[in-house]
């Protein structure tokens, strides 16, 4: 005969063990740290140490100290030949700290070169490249100049190595950045985005025609310090390729309405092989990658995070509504998010 105490014991055991644990989706989270009010749309950012050079749309060029959250300088326009010219709508700002330069581009315009050093002077030098410049990367060269690769929407891939040229007219010192080498490779596509590792590879997103890769060939001359691009391979992708990001293992491509692609180095070199397609269905405008984390900028929906530790099988880790997002950049363990409501800093919790 069973003891009633055993039944009570059984009841207690049942109640104790019968609760269940919720499932864990394994999502990451994003903590917003701060918002820098850029007034205009924050379209892009270029970071040099703890200083952010911001393209803030119709609010011009802004320079922020990311540590203190203070705006150091705001430039709504510039002086040229004695007259003041207001910026229209800044889309790209890039910093060349070695040559004390800031490159500024308004939508579909040429690249303006400005001198900027610690004295806070913001001095217009000259314009380089041509109209309909969509994106560019530049690298300082050993001879005190820089080499720039440009995604030119109507001409193709443009590049040039520039050096500073000083002339004196009527005791007026005029400094211009003049090309010493350069060229242009036309493409059937409509270039929208470009990236380069500065060593041996240039990648260019060419809208409906996908993505193109170019080898950099060096011939030891100072004029060709940055290397001359030579066509290597092309991958036709679904959708409109907008931006490309080169990493050590390959290239990530942002594709409007069709998500994102990854192409590994072996495929880039051979021009064939399978591509990895992920984030299908998202409208991806830009991708930044660091430490197996891919941050996809998806416009009005904010950002989407992916774990790319196994790049053959990227894992979605969440969509986060951080405002209309154009681009992101990793900085000092945080991400900088360029949004319509300003430049935001955030931390990804894995």
């Amino acid at each position: 005969m069973i003891s009633i105490k055993k039944v009570y014991f059984l009841l207690i055991v049942l109640m104790f063990f019968s609760c269940m644990e919720p499932n864990d989706e394994g999502l990451w989270s994003v903590d917003q740290i701060s918002v820098f009010n850029t007034k205009g749309f924050c379209r892009s950012v270029s970071v040099d140490e703890n200083i952010a050079y911001v393209a803030s749309g119709q609010a011009g060029v802004q320079i922020w100290n990311l540590e203190t959250g203070q705006v150091l300088h705001e430039y709504l326009g510039y002086s040229q030949d004695g007259s003041y010219i207001e910026f229209d709508d800044i889309s790209i700002v890039k910093r060349d700290g070695v040559n004390n330069l800031i490159f500024v581009t308004e939508s579909n315009k040429k690249v303006k070169v400005f001198f900027f050093d610690d004295s806070s002077d913001f001095i217009y030098r000259n314009e380089i490249m041509s109209d309909r410049t969509k994106d560019y990367v530049s690298f300082p060269t050993a001879g005190g100049g820089f080499t720039m690769y440009v995604a030119d929407n109507d001409d193709g891939l443009k590049w040039g190595t520039y050096r500073s040229d000083t002339t004196t007219i009527f005791n007026l010192e005029i400094i211009n950045w003049m090309p010493t080498a350069g060229g242009e490779i036309s493409t059937d596509g409509k270039p929208l985005g470009i990236d380069s590792n500065g060593e041996n590879l240039v990648a260019m997103a060419v809208d409906q025609l996908g993505v193109e890769f170019y080898d950099l060939i060096f011939n030891q001359s100072i004029e060709n310090a940055g290397g001359e691009p030579v066509f290597l391979s092309r991958f036709d992708l679904d959708g409109n390729a907008e931006q490309v990001k080169l990493v050590d293992s390959g290239a990530y491509i942002s594709v409007d309405d069709f998500g994102a692609y990854f192409i590994k180095n072996e495929s880039i070199l051979s021009g064939e092989g399978a591509v990895v397609h992920f984030a299908e269905g998202l409208t991806v405008d830009h991708i930044s990658v660091k430490d197996d984390i891919a941050v996809l900028s998806i416009g009005s929906k904010g950002i989407a995070l992916y774990d790319v530790s196994d790049i053959q099988n990227p894992k979605a880790k969440g969509i986060f509504d951080v405002g209309y997002t154009y681009k992101t950049e990793f900085w000092n363990g945080h991400i900088l998010i360029c949004t319509r409501s300003g430049l935001k800093t955030a931390k990804i919790n894995i």
């Binding site: 005969m1 864990d24 989407a304 979605a316 969509i319």
Partner: protein, 342 residues
């Protein structure tokens, strides 16, 4: 898994002790569900030109096969006092919608000390019950994923006599409704109380009236991804009235009819959450059934359920989206037998 382990431990425990017989039952239930995924009229219309909403199914309705195995045993009996253990496991197969297949089971232990006097603990498990395909807003803007949940429902009830023909049952329960990945933002802890009064009418049958009060806490509110920013917590009150009548004609032994009405109010008030904010619904269920013993060990039960849910919201599209009608027809054949090794 833990549930099965508990069942097995109890089975071994109970079968090894006591000299009472083991009562077993095996039943087959065939049925028809005319709206498996609880689609509203609008959704039925939308799905007809975008089949992805059907989650791979080709029809809105389905034939259903269900097999149930039951087991009960008196663990302890002395004078009028008894401890009765009961468990059952059921497998459901939706012929025209394989997403909906699931298993469920329950165990209960009842301490009884007289007619209508008992203390009962019950644990019910519903495993990966499919609702339909939804968009997982945490990871995608348009990809549909199957949405399933698992229930773990425990309650403690006490039943006591008021007089010779009337008795009451009071229950306190805790239902964990946790969703499978990737829909954990819907996870709920539901605390409920039930009060039921039963009246036995000589020669005619029984009539009962029950009130349920529930408070559901959306435990993952703001704790997972972007979709958890909406609060799915709610409060509800439900009344239920079953009437069981002894049949005056030979075709059946018992007729039954019951009506159940749930009024649910969502707590959400966020202006950006139009789907939940200020939403409520009235869920009506009318059940009718009759049963007949075909032989000493064989019973047949035929039943039908008519369900309608009317959703209230300030937004007409929410009302149209969340209101639905459903009909189910069932026929159950149950074979009961005993095993007594003594």
């Amino acid at each position: 898994m833990r549930f099965l382990i508990i069942i097995n431990i109890i089975y071994i425990f109970s079968a090894s002790y006591c000299s009472t017989p083991i009562n077993l039952s095996l039943s087959y239930q065939g049925g028809y569900d005319d709206n498996v995924m609880r689609f509203s009229k609008k959704e039925i219309s939308d799905a007809s030109y975008d089949l992805k909403y059907l989650g791979g199914s080709k029809t809105f309705d389905s034939y259903v096969n269900k097999i149930q195995f039951g087991f009960d045993k008196t663990l302890y009996a002395k004078n009028k006092k008894e401890v009765i253990y009961n468990s059952s496991v059921a497998l459901s197969d939706y012929v025209h919608n394989s997403n909906k297949d699931y298993w469920s089971g329950n165990i209960s232990v009842k301490y009884k000390w007289g007619s209508y006097r008992n203390l009962k603990y019950s644990l019910r498990h519903l495993n990966s019950y499919y609702l339909r395909h939804y968009i997982d807003r945490d990871l995608s803007l348009n990809d549909l994923k199957p949405c399933r949940f698992t229930d773990n429902d425990q309650y403690l009830s006490i039943s006591n006599r008021i007089n010779k023909k009337n008795w009451y049952i009071i229950s306190f329960g805790f239902l964990q409704r946790y969703y499978d990945n990737p829909f954990t933002e819907f996870d709920l802890n539901i605390y409920y109380t039930k009060v039921r009064i039963n009246k036995k009418i000589n020669k005619y049958g029984t009539i009962s009236f029950q009130i349920n009060r529930s408070v559901a806490d959306n435990m993952t509110f703001t704790k997972t991804g972007i979709s958890s920013d909406f609060d799915r917590s709610y409060e509800s009150i439900e009344w239920y009235m079953p009437i069981k009548i002894k049949s005056p004609i030979a075709i059946g032994e018992n007729f039954g009819i019951s009506f159940r009405q749930e009024l649910r109010y969502y707590n959400a008030e966020a202006v950006n959450d139009v789907l939940h904010a200020g939403r409520d619904h009235v869920d009506n269920k009318l059940d009718i059934w009759f049963n007949k013993s075909l032989s000493e060990n064989l019973d047949i039960v035929i039943s039908a359920r008519f369900r309608s849910r009317e959703t209230g919201s300030s937004y007409s599209w929410v009302r149209d989206l969340k209101s639905f009608k459903q009909m189910q027809l069932w026929c159950k054949i149950k074979w009961g037998f005993s095993y007594d090794k003594y």
